[in-house]
């Protein structure tokens, strides 16, 4: 049981002028599964490696249970890590791989065997204990890597994209398994992924990073409903939120010749540029003449729902050719090329500063 606290933690790689991780302030609560998510190069893996002790911390502190561990070597941090490529020791069999940390800690052989067996039982890999990693499938190797982590009963688990080498079906199954196992063991976990679906489904809380900076850290639901800026709004959710560039008018927002009325008014002066955020599920089909006229470009039918990709009708300028995605009932899905009208659910519009991308006031 442990808490992990990043206090202004910064990592600047040699020969780089921009920090890979920039003054990160973040707390992972006791027993929590916190997911770090962001596009590649955002600093999430560097953050994880800083906590592991594999990466130097140039400024700031990292605390485990209130104690600064920045100057401790990895072996003294009492953490376990699951690597993206598993990093299993190829010359040891599964049991030896799982028991290596205990052997390094000087645990008696009989106790190692017992604990390895118990962990193997949990992960259903008892039959493979004598095998070498090269004799295992990708999914089995992934389990062994997990087993190597849990057998130690560490204070903190670190997971660096542990599912990215699995095929799609196995990934979904393992995702739920890891989340379940983490809750059962109650070990504080920092989990890194670039896949926002993984982040949303697994995390107690999700921290979104971009360019080395923490954008927002909150529960999946809060991130989805209340993103602090256009980046988080666009990154979380699938399909992504529609982000449209427009100009404020009295009672609405203008996109070239189309005006979308905003009931509650826009929190910006008339004539100013604004970015409007609309979730696909906030848009619905409306009778002709009511709502925004759009031309359908693609229809994705997924069975339970359908996504309509469309462009504002009567608009040709590049600035307003932005793709709009709306979720509709599959039975009511229009066809490609149709002119349809979209109704915006009241109170579902988000406004962002057109320059900085920061969220402006509340929804409308």
């Amino acid at each position: 049981m442990a808490t992990v606290t990043f206090k202004g933690a910064t990592r600047i790689y040699p020969k780089s002028d921009r920090p890979a991780v920039d003054r990160l302030d973040l707390e992972v609560r006791d027993g929590e599964l916190l997911v770090l998510v962001g596009p590649s190069g955002c600093g999430k893996t560097t953050t994880l490696r800083m906590l592991a002790g594999l990466e130097h911390v140039d400024e700031g502190a990292i605390l485990i249970d209130g104690k600064d561990i920045v100057n401790l070597p990895p072996r003294d941090r009492d953490i376990a890590m699951v690597f993206q490529n598993y990093a299993l020791y190829p010359h040891m069999n599964v049991a030896e791989n799982m028991g290596f940390a205990l052997r390094m800690a000087g645990v008696p052989k009989s106790e190692i065997a017992e604990r390895v067996r118990a962990a193997a039982k949990i992960l259903d890999i008892v039959d493979f204990l004598e095998r070498k990693p090269r004799q295992l499938s990708g999914g089995q190797r992934q389990r062994v890597a997990m087993g190597r982590a849990i057998v130690r009963e560490p204070r903190v688990f670190l997971m660096d994209e542990p599912l990215s080498n699995l095929d799609a079906k196995l990934r979904v199954a393992t995702r739920a398994e890891i989340a379940g196992l983490q809750r059962e063991l109650g070990v504080t976990t920092l989990y890194v992924t670039h896949d926002q679906v993984e982040a949303m489904t697994m995390g107690d809380r999700v921290a979104v990073m971009k360019d080395g900076l923490l954008q927002q850290c909150h529960t999946p639901r809060a991130l989805y409903a209340d993103p602090v800026n256009a980046f988080v709004a666009g990154f979380i959710g699938s399909p992504a939120m529609n982000l449209l560039q427009g100009t404020v008018e009295a009672g609405g927002v203008r996109f070239a010749s189309t005006v979308i009325p905003v009931a509650g008014g826009v929190p910006k002066a008339v004539g100013e540029a604004v970015t409007v955020g609309l979730r696909p599920e906030s848009l619905s089909l409306a009778p002709a003449g009511d709502g925004i006229p759009v031309i359908v470009t693609i229809v994705e039918e997924l069975g339970a729902e359908a996504f309509v990709h469309a462009q504002l009708a009567n608009e040709t300028a590049d600035a307003v050719k932005a793709n709009i995605i709306a979720r509709v009932e599959p039975l009511a899905a229009p066809d490609k090329g149709d002119l349809i009208h979209l109704h915006v659910k009241e109170g579902s519009m988000l406004f962002f500063d057109a320059q900085s991308g920061d969220r402006i006031a509340s929804r409308s």
Binding site: A52, G53, L54, P73, P74, R75, R77, I79, A80, M81, F83, Q84, N85, Y86, A87, L88, Y89, P90, H91, F100, A101, M104, A105, K132, P133, R134, Q135, L136, G138, R141, R148, R152, N165
Partner: protein, 295 residues
Amino acid sequence: MAIPRRYFFRLVVLAILLVFTAFFFVPIVWLFLAPTKTDGQLLTHSPFAFGSFGTVAHTFHKIVTYNGHSLLIWLKNSAIYSFGGTALAILAAIPAGYGLALTQFIGRRALLAITLVVMIMPATALVLPLFLEMDKIGLYGTIWALILPFGFFPFGVYLAYIYFSSTIPKDLLAAARIDGAGEWRVFRYIALPLARPIVALVGFFALVASWNNFFLPFVMTYDNSKYPLQIGLQQLIGSTASFNPANYSAGSSVVVLHRPDLAMAVIIAIAPVLIVFLFAQRALVSGMLAGATKE
């Protein structure tokens, strides 16, 4: 009937290859056939003729017992110098290559550059300073005057460096560090067991280099009982009648060596390295790293 153009071209290539193959193989075949014949047969018979097994046994016995079993003494000396030097070379080169490839320290790049420079320097260039050094510290004439210089093997350091930097995933070492291993144990339990192929390779090259070295032992040894095989072979050439007829007039009581005896001595001299090669080759071909990380 004219030969089609494409066949003609192939035949030319084949002919060239056969000529070169013959050119390089004939001396080796001759060497292995020489001890089967007497000195006279060597001149009168075809170069590829096989003499008799009786002659082989006779030649073998003669060369091994020659001059109070000198050949066996040289063989033993060669083994001590070479295996001692090889052990030292492995002990130094493997950790050095590991350090250069997978750890960070001040002066790493400079050390790597120096390793390369020393590697391309001819070994002979160092013989005189080494002689003066060994003499100064009182090791001249001891086995250490050969074992210590043989243990200096920058090529092995470079081979180990290449191996460690290209085949051991860094995450593997990171995993061991997180698992509680300190730097020594990361090397001992993870890197070293995975380095078996390179230990074999470095060992083999170090062995061949020291086994075949002539000039260093030529300078560092001064007595028949200290000579390694390479110096001994040179002594044998001096004792062979056809190469040095003035010393061996007919009727002398000294055992006279002939060319087949010399050929037998050469075969005995290269045999240990050949045998070691067969074992090293097996160790080199091992897919130790399969399954370490998913590609």
